[in-house]
Symmetry: C2
Subunit: 312 residues, 2 copies
DNA sequence: TGAACAACATGAGGCACATTCATGGCTTTG
DNA sequence: CAAAGCCATGAATGTGCCTCATGTTGTTCA
């Protein structure tokens, strides 16, 4: 019909801009550089001869033209989604099984919302959680007990399809007024005299032990609890210190229940990956799930960094 | 949202495929090669794992998946159109003036439908027809008496924006059983003893005279009439022969009122162009008009060939 | 029946255009 | 006031779409 430089990519970009509230974050969500998004915006604004949003205000307020394009983006996205769903039905590819195995406790924080959204999009897919912790998670894929595994380490195997998710900082949690809270960051030795409060899991699964304390020859007492709230409670009442993902405790820190410090001068960072068999990686609902995980996590977890896109 | 290789280009392609009824014609309409459209189709079918339409049948019948995508294409196209219209209103670029000057009589056949469609799309644009024939049509642009001129010859001037429209064959029209109808094609000399029936216009404006007869030194008697029907009538009743665009008389020929023959062994071809001032070429409704002309002409005029696209 | 033709498929390669890279200006924050 | 975000912009780069050339199939004439 009419020649228009408008493409779906632009609509997706505008939606991401609204969701994330900034050009750079939108770029991350789209697996692009900030520059690319900026160029796209400029091209659109040039074409319509009007600004699309007010840059100097956060959250950015869209102009009427911008709002109209966003409305288009929404309706088109909805139509697109409906179409693809119907087509999957027609082709018979809409049904299937997706069993997800998880290595880390905190993962449930973002996994549940993601699974909910997937259930909406793919009602015909049997979605299961493979519970319990396994020494060799990739074995679950090969023995056909799971279609997707969440890992907190890049596996050595190259015969599985790896989908980078995001990167986050693991920070030490201290009671207010704790002696160590005076330091700008914590050294491994600082843990020696403390009780380390963790989730119930083998040492190997706990990043701060595997990657910081054990290499330094430090083996503090351990105490564990299933619930993040309980861990925070124990820390606050000076029964020990913990090392948790920043997003998991941001709320408690903000409210002043506890304080947090980096681990080591550069901080300690964890990364999460999803792994599937190569064959499963081509299934549309698996691809959709990866995308949904990245998006929901990025939007709900503060301070995380998406992996595998245009920037590290 | 979901990563989908589907882009607007694909939807436009499918719509064109439906309108034109064939891959190659769709390609022409999209200003692409047949190969490009074929590749696009293959990519889509590969992605959805299903055929989109039955190739060996004309008109091509779409599979359920193809039909569903076409429905999407229609709704998205409508949404897109509505959005752009609203934005033009917001920006204030929806209003303007478009005076069209025409050189040839038959042009009205396709110009009227195109102007009707433009009026729908751009209700705020003042659409006028500059009547009468002018010796120097480009002068109308420079003296600001028209925004767009239809030409049947590539102008020498390079300071106007030229928009190629389409190419068509001009064929000789003869009464059934006419002596010349025995020939596979007509030579210039064949016109010498005949009366040439034309529209009322100077010799310069009549392609067969300017490009065939005059160069050959042949100057047949002339007789003219305003209406195509009347010309056909005169030819049928053996008052003379005519030379008209194939599309303009296809109906009469099909019904057997008259017969047609190529002019010269290779045939005589006419080409039509639209010209505007460079500034006017950037106006959205002018661009839209060009597109609309090409599309409506291509869909309604039999045997024409779009110009300026991926193929000559 | 076969040749000529039309329509579509397919692989390789070129080229346009979106994206990245590198940098600078601007605002915010401690 | 330094330091860090955030965004804009020009030039370089690379990816993917399209074209080109050719092969294949189906169709229409002698």
């Amino acid at each position: 019909m009419a020649l228009s430089p408008l493409e779906l990519r632009h609509l997706r970009m505008l939606a991401a801009l609204r969701e994330t509230g900034s050009v750079s974050r939108a770029a991350q969500m789209l697996c692009l550089t900030q520059s690319a998004v900026s160029h796209q915006l400029r091209a659109l604004e040039e074409h319509y001869g009007a600004a699309l949003f007010e840059r100097k205000s956060s959250p950015p307020s869209f102009t009427p033209v911008g709002k109209r394009l966003l409305r288009l983006a929404d309706t088109v996205a909805a139509e697109l989604r409906a179409t693809e769903a119907e087509i999957q039905q027609l082709v018979g590819a809409g049904a299937g099984q997706l069993r997800v195995a998880v290595e880390c406790h905190t993962c449930f924080d973002w996994l549940m919302p993601a699974m909910d959204r997937l259930r909406e999009h793919w009602p015909e897919v049997e979605l299961d959680l493979v519970s319990g912790f396994h020494t060799e998670p990739l074995g679950l894929l090969r023995s056909d007990r799971a279609e997707l595994v969440i890992l907190h380490e890049r596996p050595a195997d190259t015969d599985v399809a790896l989908h980078p998710l995001f990167r986050f900082e693991i920070r030490a949690l201290l009671a207010r007024g704790h002696a160590l809270a005076a330091r700008p960051w914590l050294e491994p030795a600082d843990f020696a005299a403390e009780t380390l409060i963790t989730y119930p899991a083998p040492d190997d699964m706990i990043d701060v032990i595997r990657r910081v304390l054990r290499p330094a020859g430090v083996f503090p007492r351990r105490r564990d609890s299933e619930l993040t709230v309980a861990i925070v409670q124990l820390v606050a009442s000076r029964r020990g210190i913990a090392a948790l993902p920043g997003w998991a405790v941001a709320g408690y820190v903000e409210r002043g229940y506890v304080v947090e410090r980096p681990i080591g001068p550069e901080g300690l960072f964890g990364e999460l990956y999803a792994a599937t068999l190569p064959a499963a990686a081509t299934l549309p609902y698996v691809q959709d799930f990866i995308t949904v995980i990245r998006e929901t996590s990025f939007l709900t977890l503060p301070g995380i960094h998406l992996l595998g896109g245009a920037d590290g």
